[in-house]
């Protein structure tokens, strides 16, 4: 349907297919209501007319003055450019209820285009002074999905026809060539964002990486010297480039970019064409112009190559100096100290980290770093570097003092790597940096710049988080999504040389009228400062040194302008009653970021609850909040609980109706009250008779604490069916049997014995994922006889039936393997024999690999151990299963005894604090404080529990028994495995048929005439 106003372009001829054309004049009665736009109907001269396509040609004046078009004006509200007389063409299809607008305006030519999307579908458009596009959109409206049309908005007149042809053929656009120069942290985050956003359907992506390795974690570079390998530091998920289809070229240094020809050329002369180019070239270290700064043992601290060179130099050095006491300089100092050098830091400014810290904070940091054996020289300017007497070099300072050293590392700030852009003629800031707009676009619209090479609003952002924001922005813009980089919060939370350092907002209180509170505790080594606004209502900035507690809360106050409590100093004064700084969840605005790893706001969490989530776990699964570092777990829990309470949902943490306690509380009650039986616990702390939830949970708690034989009478009825019969029940009521095969090592005789048992009892045999053998199809009453024979052959129970330690998978290690660096089998045996029989909230799987090739897949296990040249790396809380989780690196290069001590502590802490049926992966994700907290408890012994945890584990180890051996010792116990109390007959419902030479349970349709053809050879 076409509505034609006088004076508007005559469209009738061009739209011959329009089923009706109505000339509109000022005396017509035209009504376009919001309902009508949603349903596809107009009121015209008292008549209701429906439409599939509504084409309107009218002037801006008419749009402004005609009352019947008010609903349309709302829709077109962003569309206010051009001459009032300039005609507007509109194409609308039904279904315009709450559209989102994407618009483009060219005021120079009085031209504008506006697209209206309902969900992902283009439902309407308005064009002013560019009616060449109307043909295309007329056919596209209502049919074309947003990603296919959104980017057409900005095309000039000529490509319309081509776009029209392509779209009408229904084929995807030709892929554009996207070239990315640089594969640092930001460049790689860009690639990940692009891939996540579906960018590989739109672009052929090539990455030119100047360094020999693809992206690695520069923030934690110093850990390279404390045992982390280049592989550990890598940011590239294995298979990322292969699976995404991105072409990666390492060691590919770009010599020039020609924006006119859209070509980048390597130093080797090879050239790459592009349609779009992303510059993620990063920065280079600034080396102060000090005479003598180019010595053989003078370095910068930026790349893995730099670190390799420093390591080589350190081998022949005793003293090392870092020039620069900023964030990176202190990281470098950490590196030098890890290399075993007598380490000095020389800073020109009067304090350390002059940008982030004030004098008080700098002094506290200096004090703590000095305690670690690093000598700090502040307010010290180096005038020249000359040959030394007691060491390679002498650094001569202004004022006549000097310092002798064997090597020097410059870390005095960064400079943007903008050379390529500069030579290509792109706009560059006065003091360097590639100028970009809010879309991270440079002065050439086809070229983007992100990270430390980019200059936005006159600023370079030298932190990774703003770089990541730019990367996400550029990726979104390239996918035609609305996104803008509008600056970044430079608040930081760091651990430098093990010292917590945080800086928030206006850390120096430089804002007009700012008032400051500060707190210094030289005993504990803590400095805290907050700067508040003149009216005392809002937090402007803060500094925390020595203890990061409260950072998250303070950051929320600062970012969201939340009104401060009446006595703001309570935010930094130590809480005498043990209460932490608390910000009520209700005070947080919806936009407050709760999980910064996954960028989840409070609004997202509330949205998940609105969408039907009713627990922290569900919100976590839905939003991914707290699944990264886990630091926000407590805040997430507080918000969810507060929101649920507000909705009238009562949150019960009770394990079931019989105990008003969590599993963790029950564990504590059992331990503290020395409670030995379920009945006793129920009498003291519960009600009723118990159920299938609390009974097995308490059975597990009792076993972890006292380790009694699980079939002892008071415990018998508590056990889950598998524990009750010490075997795994299958779907037909028969059982499977798994002997322990420690470390997967088994003798031929044991193999034969298992084979003999399988044959004799006609069992189905299968190799398990945990390097063991599972024997299926045993009847209840056969279990004692089967185990009698297995035990005679020297085997023992595998606890496959228990929420207990299952297997320790291993590779053959250095004994046989050409690559192995440690004896992984011996370690696996030691671990399996130590922890076998440990009852836990859920099953536990371990693995030990003999080298970094990781053939035992330890990084997917609850406890994973990987051999290094120097010992063992310990990984914790990995998980296969329904929701896989890569294990976290917990500690590196451990000797055997420390490894065992750490595993003891981690496991016992898990056993004591996890929820029922919660595996270690979910436990860690829920643990307040996450991995860092676990490290504090286990490695630093922050709770003073380490010795007790080890002692408790020792008690479990000392009381280990093979439950099947114990069972068979006493003939009285055999009646626990009777089929019937009054009959020797077999359960005729258990019925097998043959498949591939073994038995399997009969299906319903096979029960009539079962055929068991496996011969009994016993």
């Amino acid at each position: 349907m076409l509505l034609q106003w006088p004076g508007a372009p005559a469209l009738r001829a061009r739209f011959a297919t329009a089923d009706a054309c109505y000339p509109v004049s000022s005396d017509c009665d035209l009504q376009l209501s919001a309902d009508g736009l949603a349903n596809g109907a107009i009121q015209f001269n008292g008549q209701q007319l429906g439409y599939q396509r509504l084409l309107l040609a009218l002037s801006a004046n008419e749009l402004a003055n005609c009352d019947g078009l008010a609903a349309l004006r709302v829709l077109l509200s962003p569309f206010a450019v051009g001459e009032a007389e300039q005609p507007i063409l509109l194409v609308l299809s039904p279904g315009l209820a709450a559209p989102t607008a994407v618009y483009w305006a060219d005021q120079g030519n009085n031209a504008a285009r506006l697209l209206l999307f309902e969900g992902e579908v283009l439902r309407g458009l308005a064009l002013q002074n560019c009616d060449d596009a109307v043909d295309f959109f007329y056919s596209a409206v209502g049919t074309v999905a947003a990603p296919d049309t959104r980017h057409l908005l900005a095309l000039g007149p000529e490509p319309w026809a081509a776009a029209h042809r392509l779209t009408s053929r229904g084929k995807p656009m030709n892929k554009q060539k996207l070239l990315v120069i640089g594969n640092g942290m930001v460049g790689h985050h860009f690639l990940e964002s692009l891939v996540d956003g579906g960018g590989m359907q739109r672009y052929d992506v090539t990455v030119l990486c100047g360094e020999p390795e693809p992206a690695y974690d520069r923030v934690h570079l110093s850990e390279f010297f404390s045992g982390r390998t280049a592989e550990d530091l890598s940011l590239v998920t294995p298979g990322f480039f292969e699976e995404s289809g991105i072409t990666l070229r390492t060691g590919a240094r770009v010599a020039s970019v020609d924006p006119a020809a859209c070509i980048a050329e390597l130093e080797s002369g090879e050239s790459f064409e592009y349609d779009r180019l992303v510059l993620a070239t990063g920065s280079y270290p600034f080396v102060p112009p000090i005479p003598g700064n180019d010595g053989e043992h003078c370095f910068v601290y930026r790349t893995l190559t730099d670190l390799e060179a420093m390591r080589a130099s350190a081998a022949s050095s005793k003293v090392g100096v870092v020039v620069g006491g900023g964030l990176l300089g202190l990281e470098a100092a950490n590196a030098l100290q890890n290399l075993g050098l007598d380490t000095h830091v020389v800073e020109f400014a009067p304090r350390l980290m002059p940008v982030q810290l004030d004098d008080g904070g700098g002094a506290m940091l200096r004090r703590k770093i000095s305690e670690l054996g690093i000598t700090v020289h502040c307010a010290t300017a180096t005038e020249q570097i000359v040959p030394g007497e007691s060491a390679r070099y002498r650094m001569e300072f202004a004022g006549g003092e000097y310092l002798e050293t064997d090597m020097i590392c410059f870390s005095a700030g960064i400079r943007p790597w903008d050379q390529l852009a500069r030579e290509a003629g792109l706009d560059i800031g006065e003091r360097g940096g590639i100028t970009v707009n809010n879309a991270c676009q440079t002065s050439d619209p086809n070229i983007y710049a992100i990270g430390e090479c980019a200059l936005w609003g006159g600023r370079i952002f030298g932190l990774v988080a703003p770089g990541y924001q730019m990367a996400r922005t550029a990726a979104s813009v390239l996918l035609d999504e609305e996104a803008a980089f509008t600056g970044a919060d430079m608040s930081t939370k760091l651990k430098l040389l093990g010292v917590d350092v945080c800086s928030i907002g206006d850390a120096h209180g430089a804002s007009a009228g700012a008032k400051t509170y500060s707190y210094t505790d030289e005993v504990a080594g803590v400095y805290r400062r907050i700067n508040i606004s003149e009216d005392g209502k809002t937090l402007l900035g803060a500094i925390l040194v020595g203890d990061a507690q409260g950072y998250d809360q303070l950051l929320q106050y600062c970012l969201n302008g939340i009104e401060l409590p009446a006595e703001p100093d309570t935010l930094i004064l130590p809480a005498r009653d043990g209460a932490a700084i608390s910000l009520a969840p209700g005070q947080l605005p919806a936009a407050a970021t709760v999980c910064s790893c996954h960028n989840v706001t409070k609004g997202d969490i509330v949205g998940a609850l609105d969408g039907g989530c009713v627990s922290v776990g569900e919100v976590r699964d839905c939003t991914a909040a707290s699944t990264g570092c886990g630091g926000c777990a407590q805040m997430l829990k507080d918000i969810v609980n507060a929101e649920l309470a507000e909705r009238g949902v009562e949150i019960s943490t009770a394990i079931c109706e019989h105990f008003p306690h969590t599993r963790q509380e029950l564990f504590h009650l059992v331990r503290v009250g020395q409670i030995q039986t379920f009945a006793e616990l129920l009498k003291k702390h519960g009600r009723g008779r118990g159920c299938d939830i609390c009974k097995p949970a308490v059975a597990s708690i009792l076993a972890a604490n006292w380790n009694d034989y699980v079939l002892e009478q008071p415990h018998l009825g508590l056990q889950d069916t598998n524990d009750r019969y010490l075997a795994n029940m299958q779907k037909d009521g028969s059982y499977s049997v798994v002997p322990r095969v420690p470390g997967g090592e088994i003798t031929p005789d044991q193999l034969i014995a298992i084979g003999e048992v399988g044959k004799k009892y006609q069992l189905y045999t299968k190799i398990t994922g945990g390097q063991r053998i599972d024997l299926f199809g045993a009847r209840l009453e056969q279990l004692p006889a089967i185990w009698g024979e297995l035990i005679d052959a020297g085997l023992e129970t595998g606890h496959a039936y228990g929420k207990a330690v299952r297997t320790v998978k291993s590779c053959v290690g250095s004994t046989w393997c050409r690559y192995g660096v440690q004896d992984s089998v011996s370690m696996a045996l030691r671990i399996e024999h130590r922890y076998k029989g440990l009852r836990a909230p859920h099953k536990l799987k371990f693995a030990v690999s003999g080298c970094t090739r990781e053939c035992a897949e330890a990084q997917s296990k609850d406890i994973g151990v990987i051999a290094t040249e120097n010992g063992w790396n310990l990984y914790v809380c990995g998980n296969g299963g329904m929701k896989p989780r890569h294990a976290d690196l917990f500690a590196v290069d451990l000797d055997d005894e420390t490894l065992i001590a750490y595993i003891d502590r981690v496991l016992m802490f898990y056993v004591a604090t996890a929820d029922r049926l919660q595996r270690t992966a979910r436990w860690l994700e829920n643990l307040e404080g996450g991995l860092d907290y676990l490290k504090q408890v286990v490695i630093e012994d922050s709770l003073g529990l380490a010795a007790e945890l080890e002692q408790r584990m020792g008690a479990v180890v000392d009381t280990y028994q093979c439950e099947w051996a114990t069972t068979l010792e006493d003939p009285e116990r055999l009646r626990l495995f009777q089929g019937f109390v009054n009959s020797e007959a077999e359960d005729e419902h258990i019925m097998f048929v043959e498949e591939r030479g073994q038995i399997r349970p009969a299906r319903e349709d096979e029960r009539e005439a079962p055929v068991v053809v496996v011969e009994d050879v016993a």
Binding site: E657, H658, F678, A679, G688, R689, G690, C691, D692, C694, K695, P696, Q713, L716, G717, L718, Q719, D720, T721, R724, Y725, M729, K731, D732, G733, R975, L976, Q978, G979, F980, V981, N982, S983, A985, D987, H989, I990, E1004
Partner: protein
């Protein structure tokens, strides 16, 4: 089965001592399998229901964990964990499913079930 073990529709299935406090045992009444449970604290807690799990399709009810939910005695199936009321046999999760219920009593040191 000897004459001494049957009287007026009741069958003696075993000695009282064959029961396991807080757990179940299976018994046969001809071709029918039943599950007999004794409460952990003894007392009046004694129940007999069918041993066949109609949802899991196997004779396993006697191996379930017993307890109470809303003060009603229940057994949970060891296969898929549905709860059956021990007094009525009705499944709590699916009222269309139930176990047959048998009268059971202790007499003269034996366990008697009505057939």
């Amino acid at each position: 089965m000897t004459a001494a073990n049957t009287e007026a529709g009741w069958v003696r299935i075993c000695d009282e001592s064959a029961l396991l406090p807080g757990a179940g045992v299976a018994a046969r009444l001809g071709d029918t399998q039943i599950a007999v449970f004794r409460a952990a604290d003894g007392g009046d807690g004694l129940w007999a229901v069918g041993n066949y799990d109609p949802i899991g399709g196997a004779n396993v009810i006697s191996r379930g964990i017993i307890g109470d939910l809303d003060d009603e005695p229940v057994v949970s199936s060891p296969l898929y964990k549905q709860h059956f009321n021990l007094s009525t046999g009705v499944c709590l999760e699916d009222a269309s499913q139930s176990l047959p219920v048998f009268a059971v009593a202790l007499r003269d040191g034996g366990v008697w079930v009505e057939v």
